[in-house]
Structures are given as structure tokens and as C-alpha cells.
């Protein structure tokens, strides 16, 4: 188990190295930003000042040394420390992922149970198609449809962003803001602001939640069908245990094991989905910023964000493995 934990380090290290060299192949941020506007001499001067003309390997070790000291560098395009970028925008992404997980669980688990109960009858057929559609429809298209219906058509919810202009003014009153708007709104006790935050979060959370919810639905269904035919269910049924209790207790519990495992694996997918969702709804999170920084070839920022994501994914995979090993003694690392 300790070995498995120590494996996290090379995983992150490999990813960091990959991103470092891959991004360097694409050119440097100075050329990407100022390429057309400066003479080649001026550009070379700037690059030398920033240290981009040194051999790659030197730059790499320089970067590594910084990371080991907890210094991820300063972004080139907006000149902020990467650690600050991570905390500011990371909070937004975290909020979005948590909301959509709630949506996904509320959709996926009960519907999956219904599908398993009505196996091969029409509700099951409908739900399975819905689940596959949820996976097959790109999250940005779901976002577009939601916008068309609820923002443009009905005018109930805002089209994009995390706050309205008025909300931003109220939010700026807070003295030491956390990265989480919902918490801040609660701390202020401003009901109007709370409503504003919630209204902005609904559509992005639903869009990303549908994507993951479809996967949960299929998982729950498959695993419940697996446990449904077990003999202990039959014996409980003969003892006169009610059908609802059979479904929720006897069949769902053992099925939860693989479900939890796969949910952990979903983290990587959710982060990918978050990039698209944030771009769709102009939700200022890590994913949205990552796409922006990529366009600007801002290595430093991209590396920092990628590092952060890699750590999250590696750690969650580790946790999943631990859970799997605890549950099933046959799994050994």
C-alpha cells in the first residue's frame, strides 16, 4: 500500500515533465504574444531577459527547483503568481464540480435503481437510451440547449458568468473573500446575492451533472442487476422482506462498491468536462483559464494548472485503489 502511495510521485513527475517539454515544442509565450509586433532583435532581447534562450534542460531544472520550493513561477500573460491563479480559479472549479456531482447523484442513483428493477421492460429501455444520450451529447451542446430553453426562451436564468453586475458589487464588499461564492454569500447573509449566485450556478451544474449522471445511471443499473439475482436476495424475499427494502438495502449496498470505485475514476473526466462547461458558460474557473492560457502559450500557467489537476487525479486514483483493496482482499499492490 505504501508502494502504491509512493507511485503518485513519479506519476506527477512524468506528467509535469511531459507538459514542460511538449509546451516548449510549441514555441515560447513571448513569440506567441508579441511575434508580429516586435523586430526579431527586440524579441531576442526579451527572450534572453526572460531566460527562454537558455538550453531546455537548464530551464527544466530551474523550473523543478522552483516547484520543490513551492514556487510555480509567475504567469506571463497576466503577471500573477501561479499559486494565486490556482486558489482564485480553483475555488470556482471546485464549486462547479461539487454542484454537478450533487446533480449527477440525484439523477443517476435513483434512476439507475428504477432501470434495474424494470429490467428489459419499457422504463428500462427509456432510461438506458437517456443515459447513453447523456454520455453521447457533448456537454457544450447540452449547455447550448439549456441556454436556448431557460435563458433565451423562458428568461428564467442568466446566460453565462458566475454573478450579475449587481452581484459583483455586493460581493466586493466582503473583507477577506474565500474562493467560494456560495460561502461568501452566506457569510454576508445577503439573500439577494445568494439567489444570484445560485441562479448562475444552476445551468452549468445541470449540464455537467447530466454528463456524469448518465454514467452513474448505467453503473448503478449494471451492478444492481449483478446483485439482484443473488441467492440471498431470493431468501430475503421468501422471508417476506418488502420489495423496496430489497432494492435499497440488499441489492444496492453490495453494488455500491464498484460504483464508488468508478466514481473516483470519474474525477479525471469531470475535470475535462469542467473545461468545456466553464468555456460554455464563461464560468471563471481553472478550466476556462486553462483554455485561455493555452491560447496565449503561457507555459508557466499551463504547467501550474496541469500540475494541480495531475495531483488531484493521482490522489483520487490512489484513494480509489485503497478503497478497492479494503473491500476486496484479492486486490493487492
Amino acid at each position: 500500500m505504501l508502494v502504491r502511495f509512493l507511485l503518485i510521485i513519479p506519476t506527477i513527475f512524468i506528467l509535469m515533465t511531459m507538459v514542460f517539454f511538449l509546451m516548449r515544442i510549441t514555441g515560447d509565450p513571448l513569440t506567441a504574444a508579441l511575434g508580429g509586433r516586435l523586430t526579431p532583435d527586440q524579441l531576442a532581447e526579451r527572450r534572453a531577459a526572460a531566460g527562454y534562450d537558455r538550453p531546455l534542460i537548464v530551464q527544466y531544472f530551474d523550473y523543478l527547483a522552483g516547484v520543490l520550493q513551492g514556487d510555480f513561477g509567475t504567469t506571463y500573460s497576466d503577471n500573477t503568481p501561479v499559486s494565486e491563479v490556482l486558489t482564485t480559479y480553483g475555488g470556482a472549479t471546485f464549486e462547479l464540480v461539487v454542484y454537478s456531482l450533487i446533480v449527477a447523484l440525484l439523477l443517476g442513483v435513483p434512476l439507475g435503481m428504477v432501470a434495474a428493477r424494470t429490467r428489459d421492460r419499457w422504463p428500462d429501455a427509456v432510461l438506458r437510451i437517456v443515459a447513453i444520450l447523456g454520455y453521447a451529447t457533448p456537454v457544450f451542446f447540452v449547455g447550448l440547449l439549456l441556454k436556448l430553453v431557460f435563458s433565451v426562451g423562458l428568461g428564467w436564468l442568466p446566460v453565462a458568468g458566475r454573478l450579475s453586475t449587481g452581484g459583483q458589487i455586493s460581493m466586493s464588499k466582503i473583507l477577506n473573500p474565500t474562493p467560494f461564492y456560495l460561502l461568501d454569500a452566506l457569510r454576508l447573509g445577503d439573500m439577494e446575492l445568494l439567489g444570484d449566485v445560485t441562479r448562475h450556478a444552476i445551468l452549468p451544474a445541470v449540464a455537467l451533472g447530466i454528463l456524469t449522471g448518465g454514467i452513474f445511471l448505467r453503473l448503478v443499473r449494471t451492478n444492481m442487476i449483478g446483485t439482484q439475482d443473488m441467492q440471498y436476495i431470493e431468501s430475503a424475499r421468501s422471508r417476506g422482506v418488502a420489495e423496496t427494502r430489497l432494492t435499497t438495502r440488499h441489492a444496492l449496498r453490495p453494488a455500491l462498491i464498484p460504483i464508488i470505485t468508478v466514481m473516483g475514476m470519474q474525477i479525471a473526466l469531470m475535470l475535462g468536462g469542467a473545461v468545456l462547461t466553464e468555456t460554455t458558460f464563461e464560468w471563471n474557473g481553472l478550466g476556462y483559464m486553462l483554455a485561455e492560457y493555452m491560447k496565449a502559450r503561457d507555459y508557466v500557467a499551463v504547467q501550474g494548472i496541469v500540475m494541480m489537476l495531475a495531483v488531484i487525479v493521482a490522489v483520487s486514483n490512489f484513494v480509489v485503489d485503497v478503497i478497492a483493496a479494503l473491500i476486496d482482499p484479492r486486490v493487492r499492490y
Partner: protein, 347 residues
């Protein structure tokens, strides 16, 4: 984004059942002609009810996708980058009409034509990506599992690192590396395909490697070694043929995911330039701004195209998976099992 469950808990040792099923499967295989043993056709024959309906729907949708890709020049009323025909301009953001059944975009392209030409891009990327990752992933998995030792450890570590990385981000980084983010038709298709390939290799690698490690201990490999069979022949025949049973499923999952990844790249602006090939993701990106002013047709149709294409491929994959898994297969009354049970459930 692809997942395979851990083994279902509470299952006994599958070995004995496996052997028995293997025997009856071989016996059954001898008696049917080869064309009925082809993957999808044999699945169609063994399916019933809802599962059969899902499989047929999937096959039909994939058929439409392929036909549209093949005959795009004949089916599409205009080219994918045409803004005028016979000297008259189409006009921008025109609602659907007789001349343009799906309307026109903000740049004045005909939406229907872009949707139809887009099937070409999607199929080209899908075919290149899946073929390349299948080949490389299987080759690496065979080598790694068979050779073992430090090479195996290193490859597993790298594969796990790549696998742990959000696929889309890796594809973005790769597409910037390959094409500087924007490129012409074939360059763009190649860039998208290569970036998707890199993401998928670890999946094939993992599956094949695990199978090879399991098979290496089997008596028949031992026997082959004893009679002096070369390493290459053991890998190519004994191991490869037995290890590829689970591939159809990953194959279809990857095919659907490559369409989604391509669209996502296009949507984020790292895809193919609109004048060099029609790509649904890019069209959706442009349509986002239209949506706020209530123009729905520019985004609706490319979006539906993506969803239907992925739906078709996924349905085929799902059905094959269900039919291969005896716990999920709906059994025909009066007919026994026909396929080998597989210890894989995919969500």
C-alpha cells in the same frame, strides 16, 4: 473517460465456467458458416427484444454516418466553405428555408452542407485515431506483458501517468504541439487523430498487457516454449489471438470518444480551420454567440449530428458488451448460452 469496472464482487473462480463455455463455444463455432460468425452479425443473431432493438438502431445510425461520409459531395447541396452559389450570396444567419433547410451561419455558410461534410471529418479522424491507437497499444501491451522486467514497469508507469491525465487536456496540448493549434484539412485531421491516439494508447495497452500476463502462465504457452517456438511467434500467434477478445468493446468506446474529443477540440478553438474542412465542434463554438439572440439553427444541427453519431457507435458497443456478458444478456427461452462469459462489465 472510458471506464471498466473492477471485477464484480462476490463472483467465484471463473476459470471452470470459462473452460466449459470455451468448449461449447468452439463446438458451436464449427457448425456455423464464417460470415455468420463476424462480430456484429453473430451478435445480431443471438440478441432478442430490447437489446436487439438497440443494436439495430446503433448499426443504422453508424450506417448513415458512413454513407454520408462516403457520398458527402453528392448529398450536400453546397461545399462546406461556400458562401454563395450562382453569384448570389446566401446571406448570414438566415433561418431555415427551402434553399437552406437548416439555415445559414454567421459567416454565411449553409448549415446542412456543413453538417454533411462534417461526417467526413469525423469518420476520418475516428478511423485514423482508433486504428493507430489499436496498433500501437496492442504492440506495446504485448511486448510489455511478454518481456516483463524493468521495461514492463517503465511502460506501465508511463501508461498510467498518461491515463490519469484528463484526456481532453492532453489532446489540447498535443494539438498545439502538432499543428500550432490551427491547420489545414489533412494537417488538422492528422493533428486531431494523433492527439486522440496518444490518449487512447494506454487503454489498449492496459487491457492487452493484463491479458498477456495472465496467458503467459498458461500451459499452452509453456508447451510452445518447450518445442522451441520463437518469441515472435509466441507473441504473434499464441498470445495475440487470445488476448484480443475484449478489444471490440474498447474499440467502439474509443470510436465514440474520438468523435467527442474532436468536437471538443473544435469547440475550444484548437481544431481544424473552418475553410479547410467542416467540423461540428467549431460550428458549435461559433453558434454559442448566436444562441443569446435566439438563433437556434446554427448550433442545433451540428450538435444533433455529434450526439447521433456518438449515440450510434455507443449503442453498437453497449449491445456487444451486453451480449458478451452472460449476467446482462437477456436470454432467449429454450436456448442456452452461446458465448463465453466475460468478466468485464463496462459502465
Amino acid at each position: 473517460m472510458t471506464l471498466s469496472n473492477p471485477e464484480p464482487v462476490g463472483e467465484g473462480d471463473p476459470g471452470a465456467n470459462d473452460l466449459a463455455a470455451e468448449g461449447s463455444a468452439v463446438a458451436a463455432r464449427r457448425s456455423t458458416p464464417w460470415y455468420l460468425r463476424l462480430p456484429i452479425i453473430s451478435h445480431l443473431r443471438s440478441s432478442v427484444g430490447l437489446q436487439r432493438g438497440m443494436l439495430i438502431t446503433g448499426v443504422v445510425l453508424v450506417g448513415i454516418l458512413l454513407i454520408s461520409a462516403l457520398f458527402a459531395p453528392l448529398l450536400a447541396p453546397y461545399g462546406f466553405a461556400e458562401t454563395s452559389a450562382d453569384g448570389t450570396r446566401f446571406g448570414t444567419q438566415q433561418p431555415p428555408s427551402a434553399a437552406h433547410p437548416m439555415g445559414t451561419t454567421v459567416t454565411g455558410f449553409d448549415v446542412l452542407s456543413r453538417v454533411i461534410w462534417g461526417t467526413r471529418t469525423a469518420v476520418a479522424v475516428m478511423a485514423c485515431a482508433v486504428a493507430a491507437s489499436l496498433f500501437l497499444g496492442v504492440a506495446l501491451g504485448l511486448l510489455s506483458g511478454y518481456v516483463g522486467g524493468w521495461l514492463d514497469r517503465l511502460l506501465v508507469m508511463v501508461a498510467d501517468a498518461v491515463y490519469a491525465f484528463p484526456a481532453l487536456l492532453l489532446a489540447i496540448v498535443m494539438s498545439i504541439v502538432i499543428s500550432g493549434g490551427q491547420s489545414n484539412a489533412w494537417g488538422g485531421i492528422a493533428a486531431a487523430a494523433i492527439s486522440i491516439t496518444v490518449v487512447f494508447i494506454p487503454q489498449y495497452f492496459r487491457v492487452i498487457r493484463a491479458e498477456v500476463v495472465r496467458l503467459k502462465a498458461e500451459p499452452f504457452v509453456e508447451a510452445a516454449k518447450v518445442v522451441g517456438t520463437g518469441h515472435r511467434r509466441i507473441m504473434g500467434t499464441h498470445l495475440l489471438r487470445n488476448a484480443t477478445r475484449t478489444l471490440p468493446l474498447i474499440f467502439t468506446l474509443n470510436a465514440s470518444e474520438s468523435i467527442l474529443t474532436l468536437a471538443a477540440l473544435g469547440f475550444l478553438g484548437f481544431g481544424i480551420e473552418p475553410t479547410s474542412a467542416a467540423e461540428w465542434g467549431y460550428d458549435l463554438n461559433r453558434a454559442m454567440a448566436d444562441a443569446t439572440s435566439g438563433i437556434w439553427w446554427t448550433g442545433m444541427f451540428p450538435g444533433l449530428a455529434i450526439a447521433l453519431a456518438v449515440l450510434g457507435v455507443t449503442l453498437v458497443g453497449e449491445s456487444i458488451n451486453d451480449l458478451n456478458d452472460p449476467r446482462l444478456r437477456t436470454r432467449r427461452s429454450r436456448r442456452g448460452r452461446r458465448k463465453n462469459p466475460q468478466q468485464e462489465v463496462t459502465a
